[in-house]
Symmetry: C2
Subunit: 246 residues, 2 copies
């Protein structure tokens, strides 16, 4: 069944209205008729819902609450350096499928592209849209939040809000020290907040790694092969899912 997120808080038997974009998708693209069933997610809870009116905005009635078990038991924030746009979009899409809680675009020394002023806001909006679509498609009950662009200093300033802080660093992979991630993953507690920093395609500069380590980040390897910038976050989230959900 098609899945839509709404902002209003609602319960069984309530009639709610979908957004303009979602109404267009449901009525024009999916050609839904009155009586058809969809899933509507509100306040992290999925409901089976029935289309009751469709012109011009779709109205649906919440029929029953569905069991929800599609969220990783920990909240993982992925902070990534700026690779080419399609790669950042790939990361947000795939990481949303794999259970990411929040995405932070991070400007680093070796970034491949720059995001300036207005462009930065447009990029964040576009990534938020990709996250919403991927959340619907992968049956999430939350849409990962895409934060505004941060620099490393600004990220470090809020990093104490996280219980676990990791940095994926390929030099660690080369030394053969591969156990840090597993050791940490095996001790994760439900609802802990995990922040993981990844470089762009250009990698992390040694002084950035030094700053991260000084701020209490643990360097971790993602295995003995060198992963591309857009593959590394998927590896990490898949590994956490395997540890915590299978």
């Amino acid at each position: 069944m098609q899945r839509y997120f709404i902002e209003a808080v609602a319960q069984v038997n309530d009639i709610v209205q979908l957004s303009e974009a979602d109404s267009r998708h449901l009525l024009r693209v999916m050609r839904a008729k009155n009586g058809e069933k969809v899933i509507v997610v509100t306040n992290h809870t999925p409901f089976e819902a029935e289309v009751i009116e469709g012109d011009p905005l779709a109205h649906v009635r919440l029929v029953r609450e569905l069991e929800q078990a599609s969220e990783l038991p920990v909240q993982v924030t992925i902070a990534c350096g700026l690779s080419k746009h399609d790669k950042v979009e790939t990361i947000v899409q795939k990481a949303t499928e794999c259970g990411m809680h929040e995405f932070v675009p991070l400007t680093l020394k070796r970034d491949i592209v720059k995001w300036d002023g207005k462009k930065a806001n447009q990029r964040v909006e576009r990534l938020a849209k990709i996250a919403k679509e991927a959340a619907e498609q992968s049956h999430r009950t939350i849409v990962p939040e895409v934060q505004p662009l941060r620099n490393l200093r600004s990220l470090l300033a809020v990093s104490s809000l996280y219980d676990i802080k990791l940095v994926a660093y390929e030099e660690t992979a080369k030394t053969g020290a591969h156990t840090a991630l597993k050791q940490i993953a095996q001790q994760l507690q439900t609802d802990q907040k995990v922040l993981v920093v990844f470089g762009s395609e250009g990698g992390l500069a040694p002084e950035e790694v030094a700053q991260l380590l000084e701020a209490g980040f643990t360097p971790c390897s993602l295995g003995p092969r060198i992963l591309r910038a857009e593959t590394a976050p998927i590896y990490l989230l898949s590994a956490l899912s395997y540890q915590l959900e299978l």
Copy 2:
């Protein structure tokens, strides 16, 4: 260091010649001069090598054998239904980074595209090139083989060559039975051959699932979220790497 695969079997102090494409990459793109170091992989063994001559083909002398530890301890074959071409290419590239041993393009009932005759061969050649480049980039010591297009009957006919046979099936994910993959992964032995079947974007048809189960395949979930066709193989390989390499 840049990494190239050669077909000739060689040992330390031997002088070997790179292929035309690799010579062009090394000399024109990377602008390597005599005396520069590269990594050359022959017969699954990586060597540090020195450029000794570069016109028109690059000749390098093998200086010393490097420690090799970049291969998954099990041989994983990924067999996938035919999604749109860029998605199949993404699967081959990312699965190579994540340690795939072999790729089988599989024609299934709900395929999104068809590969006919000559086009099938061209697609396989193109995928083989992507696998080679991804193997070099990710520091593999083997290039995953891309097999010719198979149908399900032909795959089942050779499936007894594999020690472990899995099918990723999203209906399993929906029932909440998520433990099969972990149970199997925890019992894997070094060098075992693992075959995993994935549907295309269109999914597997129920009768195909029935045939696979009858042939001894174990259905497995990749967690509670619905993954796209191109994400599922990366999740699987990341999970196996986490279990076996971290």
